[in-house]
Amino acid sequence: MKRINFHVLGPLVALVLLILLGWFLNPAFLAPANITNVLARSAFIGLIAVGMTFVITSGGLDLSVGSMAAFLAGITIMAINALAPYTGVNWGTVLLGMGVALFGGLLAGTINGTLITKARIEPFIVTLGTMGIFRSLVTWLADGGTLSLTSDMRTLYRPVYYSGIGWITWPIITFAVVAILGELMMRHTRFGRYVEAIGSNDRVARYSAVNVNRIKLMTYMLLGALVGLAVIIYVPRLGSASGSTGIGWELEAIASVIIGGTALKGGTGRVWGTVVGVLILSLIDNILNLTSLVSPYLNGAIQGVIIVLAVVLQREKRTAGER
């Protein structure tokens, strides 16, 4: 990138403005504890949004990720609880549980992707359908209530969310690693190149001997696996899952991707932008908690205004002279 595109940096500018605002409202905003909190909690949506960037860039969409997360968290908890009596309260059991989450995510993504590529149904419809299915299933598994880790497994597993290397906790590390890998994958691998090609014109991709269906399927599988990874660090945080886990995560993830500058119609993906988008969204919440300026009823309105403003900064100029 030779010349600096202001509109590309738009989300970054918005992020910096938000950080300054937070600092101005309450200096504790920049205390390490708060930074750890905000980054760690961004990790769930963050991981999912990185996967969503690939799906959207290839011209797809996935509305099911929130319910998928709830479902995966549910079966992970059930698996750990069921295994513990046999395998014991140890890291082996936790690892098996993590395996369930990852493998389950991969499978769920495969189902979405297969319906979309093989049965050729609009991604919106497929994932609206599986959104309902996953959520129903977890509610049913939990009998309408909550699925919880047994307290000894909980205690063992808990540090996966809360510890790490100093203030850089595991969720932060995971998010950072995935974000960097994602950015590299999008920019520097064939997969990323194909994803962008398919999103910008899938006919051209097909004529260019790209295996369009396989790549599309892979984006959904990647997203599924990342939802699984998000669940792996979500479960130790709350130790439970229910029918209301992950409601609205799909909108947050999609919004992060778009705020970050990836076009909803596909073709251009910007993983680093997605990371900025995720941080913007979690900072808004955090900043609203820093002071008691407005009625909590109006939080949603403020969020809405900031989201729109963050994107105003990256409007593209119409090319000069075209008319």
């Binding site: 691998t189 064939r190 051209v204 001997a209 790209v210």
Partner: protein, 511 residues
């Protein structure tokens, strides 16, 4: 006689690069004005400026001697200045009739569908095509879309009609219909401008010729003042000789054989053989199924029949399998199927052959080198390397597409309209290139609507008609007359579309 529409010292830049350097130009009523020049010389840019779609960075557009009052394409159209763009301007999801009347629908509150359909049908009739006014644009072939563009332009009340390479994708038959319409409009006092890389066409149609080189006018002539050779020399700036390279004798080894090859609804029971080192031409009218045959061959369309490659029978279900078998296809639909218009040059260049640029991570330096090579080898003229493919001039897009296809290093190459929109100088290079590939032992199938091209290039020519093989000509028998007769149905000069059923499977006209 004052000009209807004129350019006065017009300059135009894209970013820091100026592509037009003070152009003067005048269009007169009842006159056909040809604008010629190499790819990237600035022809399309001039036409867009004349039609209000681009603003000049300096200088002005004059309509009837006054500064043109329009600020946009639609405003220019309202003033009677109509442009047929080099790239299609049709809404894919709408019908032919809806596109023809887009923005000026007939009827009051309720659209008058019937009137629009009938008028569209009449226009298409005038152009001698069988396109249905109710067909969706996305279902039409590239030449049919071009015919719709022409019909759309004809339906407007034009004082000035500007056509950017209207004939590039048309075959013999449609070109005739187009010429008739041009003659009719000239007689009616319309000022016409077109550009073309078919110099015979320029000589035939133009009352006035302007030659452009690198954004400046380098020559002007009136009808009869400039020969085709003279035009070529003026455009390129040097003498061009040996247009078609000498043919070499193909080896006898058969590399590809098709038997009973059919693509449902388009191609029926084709049998053909292709030898090592051979250039096989395929000619035919629009809708004769040449493109479908090629797309079936590389797995882009469902097909039946047997395909034998170097003695082994194989199935090809998708272009990837075709690529693995060493088979490549260059599409005629450059905009929708060939290039990613919003992506950069190297992303486009390497897309089909990306595996060569690294197992996991893409070697960007190798990509840059490949682009250097392609730019040199195919003479791609681009203002900067960072440009999006869609911002290349039309001919340079075609060169990029060629370079992209060649990068996969295929053994068998099917090229659909290889020189569509390419200037004479580069055409010559491309012909030489195709010959060189053949000499290296590769085999090439060339589908072309330009008869001279098929004749000059091919060792053997297959002619298709209504999805079937109408015949084959080789050697001395490759003549315009033979090909046209086969394409139209043997010995049926008066009846261009006879019944298909009674024909023999393939009629050999070999000596």
């Amino acid at each position: 006689m004052t000009a209807v529409l004129a350019l006065d010292q017009v300059r135009r830049s894209f970013g820091p690069i100026e592509v037009l350097h003070g152009v003067d130009l005048a269009l007169h009523a009842g006159e056909v004005h040809a604008l010629i020049g190499e790819n990237g010389a600035g022809k399309s840019t001039i036409m867009k400026i004349l039609g209000g779609f681009l603003a000049p960075t300096a200088g002005q557009v004059l309509l009837d001697g006054q500064p043109a009052p329009y600020r946009s394409g639609p405003e220019a159209e309202a003033a009677g200045v109509i442009v047929i763009h080099q790239e299609f301007n049709l809404a894919q999801d709408l019908t032919v009739a809806a596109n023809v009347f887009l923005g000026r629908e007939l009827g009051g509150w309720r659209l008058d569908h019937r009137a629009m359909r009938e008028q569209t049908a009449a226009l298409l009739e005038r152009l001698n095509t069988r396109i249905s006014p109710d067909a969706l644009i996305r279902e039409l072939s590239v030449p049919d879309r071009q015919m719709v563009e022409i019909a759309k332009a004809l339906s407007r009340d034009a004082r000035v009609l500007i056509m950017d390479e209207p004939s590039a994708v048309l075959t013999h038959r449609e070109v005739g219909a187009l010429y008739d319409q041009i003659d009719r409009l000239r007689a009616a006092g319309v000022a016409l401008m077109f550009c073309s890389h078919r110099l015979d066409e320029v000589a035939h149609l133009a009352d006035r010729i302007t030659v452009l080189r690198d954004g400046s006018v380098v020559a002007r002539a009136m009808r009869g003042e400039m020969s085709e050779d003279g035009m070529a020399t003026a455009m390129v700036g040097r003498e061009l000789t040996d247009f078609f390279p000498p043919k070499n004798t193909a080896q006898s080894e058969t590399v590809l054989e098709l038997r009973d090859f059919s693509v449902p609804g388009a191609v029926h029971d084709i049998g053909l053989t292709l030898h090592r080192g051979e250039v096989l031409g395929i000619a035919g009218l629009i809708g004769s199924g040449r493109t479908e045959l090629a797309e079936g061959l590389v797995g882009l369309r469902p097909h039946s029949g047997t395909l034998t490659l170097k003695g082994r029978e194989i199935t090809i279900r998708n272009p990837r399998q075709a690529a693995e078998a060493g088979l490549a296809y260059l599409t005629e639909d450059r905009k929708e199927a060939g290039l990613l218009l919003t992506k950069g040059l190297s992303e486009n260049l390497t897309l089909s052959a990306l595996a060569k640029f690294g197992r996991i991570a893409i070697d960007k330096r190798a990509e840059a080198r490949a682009l250097d090579t392609a730019i040199a080898e195919f003479d791609i003229r681009t203002p900067t390397r960072e440009i999006a493919a869609g911002n290349l001039s039309g001919g340079n897009q075609q060169k990029l597409l060629l370079a992209k296809t060649m990068l996969t290093d295929p053994e068998i190459i099917v090229i659909d309209e290889p020189t569509r929109g390419i200037d004479v100088g580069t055409k010559r290079q491309i012909y030489a290139f195709i010959r060189k590939l053949a000499a290296e032992g590769r085999s090439i199938i060339v589908i072309s609507s330009e008869l001279t091209e098929v004749m000059g290039l091919a060792d053997r020519v297959l002619v298709m008609r209504q999805g079937r093989l109408a015949g084959e000509v080789a050697g001395q028998d490759i003549t315009e007359d033979n090909i046209v007769r086969l394409a139209m149905g043997v010995g049926a000069e008066a009846d261009p579309i006879p019944e298909p059923k009674s024909e023999p499977k393939s009629k050999a006209v070999t000596p």
